[in-house]
C-alpha cells in the first residue's frame, strides 16, 4: 500500500514535472521566437532603409563620394559588419565601404530583382564566412522604363549577424535559430556555437503538419534532433525564421529530476521495507511474548485448577475432585445401571510413624502408599486422598464382593510390604471399608459414610483387613454415635460411677484395700464398662478429664470411708497407658491428693505389665517421681506379659497382681502349679507383695487361704460393688 503510494506519487510528480517542463519549453520557444522575429525584422528594415538611403543619395548626387558623405554623417551602419557597395550596370563595384572590393566585378542579381523594386536576398562566400546579401536596384524607375541593365546597391553582412542573439543559456547546445528562404534553403542557422547554412529545411511541410505553426510550438525531427519548433514567415521579406528548442536538452533536467525521484522512491521503498521488516519483527516478537504470557496464564490456570482438585503431596485427586467424580459416577450409574464401589482406606500405624520418624518421613510414606495404591488398581479406577492418612478408591463397574475382595487383598498386601523411611524399615497396614453403589447408598454422602463405617469396623476388628458395609454395622455405628454424643455431657451430668473391688488378706480374710472401677450409667443404654466407651473417649479427647475424675473421686471416697470410721484402706486406681505417659500425669496425682487430703501412701496406681514394656526408661523416671510422692505402684495382670526380670527389678514396684490365668493354673497340673508358684515366688523375692486376681468365689478364696503354702499376700474379690454396698459389707 505504502509502496503503491510512493511509486504512484513519484510517477505523478515525474509526469507533472515533465509536463510542466514541456509547457515551459513551449512557452520559452514562443518568447524567443517573438523576440527573434522582432530583431530580425528591425535588422532587415535597417538594412532596407540603408539601401534606400544610399540609392537616394546616389541618385541625387555625384557617384564618387556617396558612401563617404553618408559615413561622415554617420548615416551608414558600422563598416565593421556591414559592407555596402554600389555596383554599376556592368557589375563593377564603383563605391564600397570595404576598399578591398573596389573594382571587382560582381555577378548581377536575378533579372527579376532588377526589374521590380524589391529587396532581394542572396548570399556569397566572403573569406571563410558566409555572407548574406541584400540588394536593391539603383534606378528602378529608369530601368523599368529603359528595360536595360542598371546598377544596384548591395549590403553584405556576415551570416552569423542574424543569429548572434543565440544564447546557449536559453537555447542550449542543440537549440535552433535559423533564417530560411521561401524556398526552404537555410540562409543561416545556429545551434550552440556552430553556424550552418545552405541546408534544406522543409518548413512548408512543417507548417502544414500543424494548425498553428506561428504561435503553437510543435515537435519536429530534423537532422536527428527533436525540437519544439516555431516557424514564422516574415511580413514584407522573403524569409522565414525558425526557432527550436531541443526536447532532449529541455527535458534533460526533467529526466535528471525524474531519475532523482525514482531513485528517491527506490531508497524510500527500501527504507520502508526495512522499517516494515523491523516493525514486523517487533510485532512478531510482541505477539510471541503475548502468546507466551497467555500460555503461561493458561498453564498457570491449569496448574491452579490442578492444585484445586489434587492433593499437593501425592498428586492424587483430592476430596473435592473425588466428590465430583463420585457424583458423576452416581449419575452415570443411574443412567446405565452400572454399579461401582468405594473403598475407604486408613493407614493403621501412620500416626506413630509420623510422631516417631517426623513429618517428612510421614509425607514420604504417604507418597509411597499413593503409588502402591495406584498400581494396585486398574487404570480406570480412581485413587484419591481425603487428607491425613485417609484414601478413597473408586472402583468402577464392580457389583459383587467377590470382585472386590481380590483387589482389597492386593491392596492389603501391597501396604504390608516394608517401607524404607529415613534409612529405616517400617511396616504399616491398612484398614479398608467398602460400600457399593447402589446397594449401600444412592448418593455420595451416604456411600462415603457407609464406607467409612465399614472401615471403622475393620479397625475394630484388628486392622489390616477389609470389611464390607452391612446394615448391622450401621446400627452399631448408631450406638457408637449415641455414646459419643453422650460422653460429652456424661461428666457434667454426673453419669459416671465408681465401683469398688476389695483386696483381702490371705490369712484372716480381712479387707486391706479397695480398687476403684469406672462405670458409666448411661441414661438409655444402662451401665457401661470402660471397654465400651474409653476408646471413644480417647478419640474424642475426653480420656484425661475422665481419668482425672476417677482419680479424684476414688481418693474422695476413701476419705469419706475413713471419716465414717472404717479401717484405713488402700485405694487402687487403674491407670491407662495414655494417662501414664501424659505429661501432666504426676501433677494430676498431686492435685487429687491435695484436693482430697488423702494420705499418699494409701493410693496405689495400677499399671499393666505391657505398659512397663513400652518404654522402660520413661517408665522408670515416671515411677521415680510417683515414689517421691509416697504413692504406691502395682503391676496389674502380672504373668501375662513378658517383663524382663532385670527391668522389673529396676522399677520400684510395690505390689504384683497376678493374672487370673496364673491363679487358675494353681489348681491345674503339677507343672502348671510349679510355674505359677515360681512366678509368685519371684515377686516375693523381689520384695513385693503378691496378690491373686480373679478370685471368683468364696470357695476359691477359702482354698487359697487354706493352702498356706501358696505364697500370696492376699487376693482380690471378683465382685465390684458400689461405695454404699461396700460400706454395708464392711460394717
Amino acid at each position: 500500500m505504502m509502496l503503491l503510494i510512493i511509486w504512484g506519487s513519484t510517477y505523478f510528480l515525474v509526469n507533472k514535472e515533465r509536463i510542466s517542463i514541456e509547457r515551459q519549453a513551449k512557452l520559452s520557444v514562443g518568447e524567443i521566437t517573438d523576440t527573434y522575429e522582432a530583431r530580425v525584422v528591425r535588422a532587415l528594415r535597417e538594412i532596407d532603409t540603408t539601401l534606400k538611403l544610399v540609392r537616394f543619395t546616389a541618385n541625387s548626387r555625384d557617384h564618387s563620394s556617396v558612401l563617404n558623405v553618408l559615413n561622415e554623417q554617420r548615416l551608414l551602419p558600422p563598416a565593421l559588419l556591414f559592407t555596402i557597395s554600389i555596383v554599376d550596370s556592368q557589375g563593377m563595384v564603383v563605391e564600397t565601404t570595404d576598399p578591398g572590393l573596389l573594382g571587382q566585378r560582381l555577378t548581377p542579381p536575378a533579372q527579376a530583382m532588377l526589374d521590380g523594386d524589391y529587396l532581394a536576398v542572396g548570399e556569397k562566400g566572403a573569406y571563410q564566412a558566409k555572407q548574406i546579401t541584400f540588394t536593391r536596384p539603383l534606378r528602378p524607375e529608369q530601368e523599368s522604363a529603359q528595360g536595360g541593365g542598371s546598377g544596384w546597391v548591395i549590403i553584405a553582412i556576415d551570416a552569423n549577424y542574424f543569429v548572434s542573439s543565440y544564447e546557449v543559456r536559453s537555447l542550449g547546445q542543440q537549440g535552433l535559430l535559423a533564417l530560411v528562404s521561401a524556398e526552404g534553403i537555410v540562409r543561416v542557422r545556429r545551434s550552440g556555437d556552430t553556424i550552418h547554412s545552405g541546408e534544406l529545411m522543409d518548413i512548408g511541410a512543417w507548417k502544414s503538419s500543424t494548425l498553428d505553426a506561428v504561435s503553437a510550438p510543435f515537435m519536429t525531427h530534423w537532422q536527428g534532433v527533436e525540437r519544439y519548433t516555431l516557424v514564422r514567415e516574415l511580413y514584407d521579406f522573403p524569409l522565414s525564421i525558425v526557432v527550436g528548442l531541443s526536447a532532449q536538452e529541455q527535458l534533460a533536467a526533467a529526466h535528471q529530476l525524474a531519475r532523482n525521484y525514482w531513485q528517491r522512491a527506490g531508497w524510500t521503498s527500501g527504507l520502508l521495507l526495512i522499517i516494515l521488516a523491523m516493525l514486523g519483527r517487533l510485532s512478531w516478537q510482541l505477539q510471541w511474548a503475548r502468546q507466551r504470557v497467555m500460555e503461561e496464564r493458561v498453564s498457570h490456570a491449569q496448574q491452579v485448577e490442578h492444585l484445586a482438585f489434587h492433593d499437593m503431596l501425592t498428586d492424587l485427586p483430592n476430596r473435592a475432585f473425588l466428590s465430583h467424580l463420585i457424583t458423576q459416577a452416581v449419575k452415570l450409574g443411574g443412567r446405565h445401571s452400572e454399579s461401582f464401589a468405594l473403598l475407604f482406606l486408613d493407614l493403621d500405624r501412620f500416626k506413630l510413624i509420623n510422631d516417631t520418624l517426623g513429618h517428612d518421613a510421614g509425607d514420604l510414606l504417604l507418597q509411597e502408599v499413593a503409588r502402591r495404591l495406584t498400581s494396585s488398581v486398574r487404570e480406570s479406577d480412581v485413587v484419591a486422598r481425603l487428607g491425613g492418612d485417609e484414601f478413597v478408591i473408586l472402583l468402577s463397574k464392580v457389583s459383587r464382593r467377590d470382585q472386590i475382595e481380590p483387589i482389597g487383598k492386593k491392596i492389603l498386601s501391597a501396604a504390608r510390604e516394608p517401607f524404607m523411611l529415613a534409612g529405616q524399615e517400617c511396616h504399616i497396614s491398612v484398614s479398608i471399608g467398602v460400600s457399593l453403589y447402589p446397594f449401600d447408598g444412592l448418593d455420595e454422602q451416604t456411600l462415603m459414610k457407609s464406607a467409612d463405617m465399614a472401615m471403622y469396623q475393620a479397625k475394630q476388628l484388628g486392622k489390616n483387613n477389609i470389611q464390607f458395609y452391612t446394615d448391622e454395622l450401621s446400627a452399631e455405628m448408631d450406638v457408637r454415635l449415641t455414646l459419643e454424643s453422650g460422653l460429652h455431657r456424661a461428666l457434667a451430668s454426673h453419669e459416671f460411677r465408681l465401683f469398688f473391688q476389695s483386696k483381702h488378706d490371705v490369712e484372716v480374710g480381712s479387707t486391706l484395700g479397695m480398687e476403684a472401677l469406672l462405670r458409666w450409667q448411661h441414661p438409655t443404654l444402662g451401665l457401661l464398662e470402660p471397654a465400651q466407651f474409653m476408646p471413644l473417649a480417647e478419640e474424642s479427647g475426653l480420656a484425661m478429664p475422665i481419668a482425672q475424675w476417677v482419680l479424684e473421686n476414688a481418693c474422695r471416697q476413701n476419705m469419706l470411708w475413713q471419716q465414717e470410721g472404717f479401717p484405713t484402706l488402700t485405694m487402687a486406681v487403674n491407670i491407662s497407658a495414655r494417662q501414664f505417659y501424659d505429661n501432666s500425669f504426676v501433677e494430676s496425682i498431686k492435685e487429687a491428693l491435695a484436693t482430697t487430703g488423702m494420705d499418699p501412701r494409701l493410693l496405689e496406681l495400677e499399671i499393666t505389665e505391657s505398659m512397663l514394656l513400652q518404654n522402660v526408661q520413661r517408665t522408670a523416671s515416671i515411677f521415680a517421681e510417683i515414689k517421691k510422692l509416697g504413692v504406691m505402684i502395682a503391676v496389674d495382670d502380672f504373668g501375662t506379659g513378658y517383663s524382663s526380670l532385670s527391668d522389673l527389678n529396676a522399677l520400684p514396684v510395690d505390689t504384683l497382681k497376678v493374672s487370673s490365668s496364673v491363679v487358675k493354673r494353681l489348681s491345674g497340673t503339677r507343672r502348671d502349679q510349679q510355674l505359677s508358684s515360681s512366678v509368685i515366688e519371684l515377686g516375693k523375692c523381689l520384695g513385693m507383695e503378691v496378690f491373686a486376681k480373679g478370685v471368683a468365689s468364696h470357695e476359691q478364696a477359702h482354698f487359697i487361704g487354706s493352702h498356706s503354702s501358696l505364697p500370696f499376700h492376699g487376693f482380690y474379690s471378683n465382685e465390684p460393688l458400689s461405695a454404699e454396698e461396700n460400706g454395708q459389707k464392711e460394717k
Binding site: L80, D158, N160, Y161, S164, S165
Partner: protein
C-alpha cells in the same frame, strides 16, 4: 628549485615570462587623449568597458567618446589584443550581437592613426589609440593602470 620542476613546468614558466615581457615587433600602440582632456589615467577595465560599449562615463562623471580604427589595421588588432584581451574576431562577434539585439553601436572607426589624431585634437572628450609614431605634443598618453 628549478631542477625539481618537470620539463613541461619549466617551459610553461618560460612561456608565461615571455608573454609578460614580449612586445610586438610592430610599432607600439598608445592610448591617447587630447592635451586638454580632463583625465590622464584609466583603469584597464574602464578602457575595456568604454571600447566594448558598456559605458560612456568614467570616473568623476567624465564623458568619453572612444575612437576606433578600421578593421584590418595593425594598430587596431594590437590594441584589442593588448588592452582588452580579445581578438578582433571576438570584438566583431561582440558588436554583431550588440547591434543585432539593439544594445549599442561600435565606436566610430577612422581609417588611420592620423585621422584619429586630428579628431582627438578637435574633441577633448575623444579617446583613441594610435601608433606611437603619431604621438605629438597636442596629445597626452593615457596611463592604463
Amino acid at each position: 628549485m628549478l631542477k625539481r620542476l618537470t620539463g613541461s613546468g619549466i617551459s610553461f614558466l618560460l612561456g608565461a615570462m615571455l608573454s609578460m615581457t614580449y612586445h610586438p615587433a610592430s610599432a607600439e600602440v598608445l592610448v591617447v587623449v587630447s592635451a586638454e582632456a580632463p583625465f590622464t589615467r584609466l583603469t584597464s577595465s574602464d578602457l575595456r568597458d568604454v571600447y566594448l560599449g558598456r559605458r560612456t562615463l568614467i570616473v568623476n562623471g567624465v564623458q568619453v567618446v572612444p575612437l576606433d580604427l578600421t578593421e584590418g589595421t595593425a594598430a587596431r588588432s594590437e590594441f584589442y589584443t593588448h588592452y582588452t584581451g580579445q581578438t578582433p574576431a571576438q570584438i566583431k562577434s561582440h558588436w554583431a550581437r550588440q547591434i543585432f539585439t539593439g544594445r549599442g553601436q561600435p565606436p566610430q572607426a577612422l581609417s588611420n592613426s592620423r585621422a584619429v589624431v586630428e579628431r582627438l585634437v578637435s574633441d577633448a572628450k575623444a579617446l583613441g589609440y594610435i601608433d606611437s609614431s603619431f604621438l605629438d605634443e597636442r596629445l597626452r598618453v593615457v596611463t592604463i593602470e
